[in-house]
């Protein structure tokens, strides 16, 4: 070896924008992204700081002030069937509603990705065994499975979280397996095997970086569904128990009030609707930014 090659170039090489850098650049140019992101941030702020932002105590009931309309003095968005301030309950309710919606997706993302990547990389019999088991759960419509599981386990936040997580694991695992199988057959994975690396290193260095992106975007599209489903469980009485403020539960208890104060009764659902739209738009713009190679 001649000495000229033994010395390193002095300056550090210029690092160019990677894949995520490019996705980020595309996404910030999308106006829909900004609208959706600001709504989501506002909701998250409500969830985090709820108890301090709310003007009144969400649990303070007053039988004299039941079902006041929107715009009443002291009750800007009206009051519910127990006389509690709707605005405060809606704000504080964000915490539980968002928590019940987002947490199952996060858990299912972790578990489902692990299962799917394992099945996708291992191939052969392991793959078949895992995916056929997943198929059995896929054979249930998700709402039915969620309700059946919740119904079987009983009401309560923990049980609802468990059943929702179980409902979302199969679709995420499927996506993970599909993407991993594609990546596994690429030449650069073969080249990595040819370098003598073991399976664990290959998955860590070469597979994960190429696979987690698409799975993540798919998972974000599930958040809205999860929120609606979680609130739906509370609506049926299977999730959060009273008197906790949660939008789905509030819809349930206010149902009978639709003849008396229809618009107050409809408010919690409107919050769910807005949250769902925001997350769907966010996920859509992220997917659009990623599709563009």
């Amino acid at each position: 070896m001649n000495t000229a090659t033994a010395t390193l170039p002095v300056e550090k090489p210029a690092k160019s924008r990677g894949y995520w850098g490019n996705v980020g650049a595309r996404v910030v140019r999308d106006p829909v992204f900004w609208v959706a992101a600001s709504v989501v941030l506002a909701l998250l702020a409500m969830a985090l700081f709820g108890p301090w932002i709310a003007p009144a105590d969400p649990q303070a009931s007053s039988m004299l002030s039941r079902l006041k309309p929107i715009g009443t003095d002291g009750y800007p968005l009206g009051s519910d069937e127990l006389g509690r301030d709707m605005l405060s309950r809606l704000i504080v309710g964000a915490r539980l509603s968002l928590f019940m919606g987002i947490t199952p997706v996060i858990l299912a993302f972790c578990i489902g990705s692990a299962i799917g990547i394992l099945a996708g990389y291992a191939g052969g019999f392991t793959n078949t065994a895992i995916m056929r088991t997943i198929d059995v759960f896929y054979a249930f419509p998700s709402v039915l499975l969620a309700i059946a599981l919740s119904g079987a386990l009983g009401a309560g936040i923990g049980n609802a979280l468990l059943s929702l997580t179980i409902v979302f694991i199969p679709p995420i695992a499927r996506v993970a397996e599909s993407v991993t199988t594609q990546v596994r057959n690429r030449d650069y994975v073969e080249a990595a095997r040819a370098s003598g690396a073991n399976a664990f290193t290959i998955v860590r260095v070469h597979v994960l970086g190429n696979v987690l992106g698409p799975i993540f975007v798919y998972a974000t599209s599930l958040i809205a569904v999860s929120m609606i489903l979680a609130s739906g469980l509370s609506f049926l009485g299977l999730g959060v128990k009273p008197p906790e403020p949660e939008w789905g539960l509030m819809l349930n208890t206010l149902r009978t009030a639709i003849y008396v104060q229809p618009w107050v009764a409809a408010l919690p659902g409107a919050m769910i609707f807005i949250t769902s739209i925001a997350f769907n738009l966010l996920s859509d713009s992220l997917r659009a930014a990623m599709d563009n190679k």
Partner: protein, 345 residues
């Protein structure tokens, strides 16, 4: 007086790979694709062995078998006398010695890694520390003609095809192997870029003392770069020999036909008649006897029954050979020589 017998660096004996075909629900189908059937050859230290043949002849499968990226159905590969995968030569150690450059330059690189990270990955797997591996990657980039300050931090999609292939070559060299297998490595490049990369390969071979196995369907390129050439047909070796000798005086009828199909700039050497007749081969049900016999202009009845012998091709010191009954004394072919008194005895 015989030249001293050179010990082969790589010796392939009886290599077989059959791919099973799936049966459908009624039990039809099944059978195997005989992709590689009883292949024997050697690779001598310091040479470039060219491998040519039609699509489907088994060149790429052989390359992957050499790299142990797929498991052989039968046969063995010996590196420097030691059997690959045995206790003397565990697989991971063998992988350091033999590396491969693939045809598709883009698909061979992880789109999420910078090219210096891609190159540094191999050494890191074998225990080289991060800093040293990256330094080695950068010096290799300089070697293949890509200035590290400009290129090291780039991603594959920001490079041209020729540049990516240089990166792949640098990546193959990062483990300091002794043999580099080039599987159609320049086939996808523009001609001018191809010439540059070929010259780079020759320079690197001299500088690092490498041995190449160069697989290609482009006969001109193979002639340019190879010391010896091996011709494959339908999963078997048809002929092996020194490059110039093989191109000037091909012996196997298939080699003759292959070479006469090369387009030439010489107006006196136009191809007037299609060199090969007959149906293209089917590796699922290959013809019996010599596999080339349905298309061979010199075929006779015996060719459909007797398989030409190839065992000699793997023996040390045997640098050329032909798998054809015409060149086997005593085979029964009318053009074959009669066995000498010694052989008949």
């Amino acid at each position: 007086m015989q030249a001293p017998v050179q010990k082969p660096l790589l010796s392939v004996q009886g290599l077989v790979k059959h791919f099973p075909l799936k049966k459908d629900v009624l039990g039809r189908g099944g059978g195997v694709v005989r992709a590689v059937d009883d292949v024997n050859f050697q690779v001598l230290p310091g040479e470039t062995l060219g491998v040519v043949g039609e699509s489907g002849c088994g060149k790429s499968t052989t390359a992957r078998l050499l790299m142990q990226l797929i498991e052989p159905t039968a046969g063995e590969v010996l590196f420097d006398g030691a059997k690959v995968g045995s206790r003397d030569l565990p697989l991971k150690e063998y992988r350091r010695q033999v590396q491969m450059v693939f045809q598709d330059s883009y698909a061979s690189l992880n789109p999420r890694l910078t090219i210096e990270d891609s190159i540094a990955f191999g050494p890191q797997v074998h225990g080289v520390s991060g800093g040293v591996a990256v330094a080695r990657a950068r010096s290799l980039l300089a070697k293949v003609g890509l200035e590290p300050t400009r290129f090291a931090g780039r991603y594959p999609h920001e490079l041209s095809g020729g540049q990516r292939q240089r990166v792949n070559i640098a990546r193959a060299l990062a483990l300091q192997p002794r043999i580099v297998i080039l599987d159609e490595a320049v086939s996808a490049l523009d001609k001018s870029v191809e010439a540059q990369v070929l010259n780079l390969l020759l320079d690197l071979k001299d500088e690092f003392g490498l041995t190449y196995v160069f697989i290609s369907h482009d006969l001109h390129v193979v002639r340019f770069i190879s010391d010896r050439v091996m011709v494959m047909y339908l999963g078997e070796v048809a002929e092996v020999g020194a490059a110039e000798t093989l191109f000037e005086t091909p012996r196997h009828p298939y080699t003759k036909a292959l070479l006469s199909s090369m387009p030439s700039m010489d107006p006196d050497r136009r191809t007037l008649v299609a060199p090969l007749a007959g149906d293209p081969p089917n590796p699922i049900n290959p013809p019996g006897g010599c596999r080339f016999h349905p298309r061979c202009p010199k075929a006779e009845a015996v060719c459909g029954q007797v398989v030409p012998s190839r065992k000699a091709l793997a023996l040390p010191g045997v640098t050329q050979g032909v798998a054809c009954l015409i060149h086997e004394p005593g085979s029964g072919h009318t053009l074959a020589a009669l066995p000498t008194a010694q052989e008949a005895a």
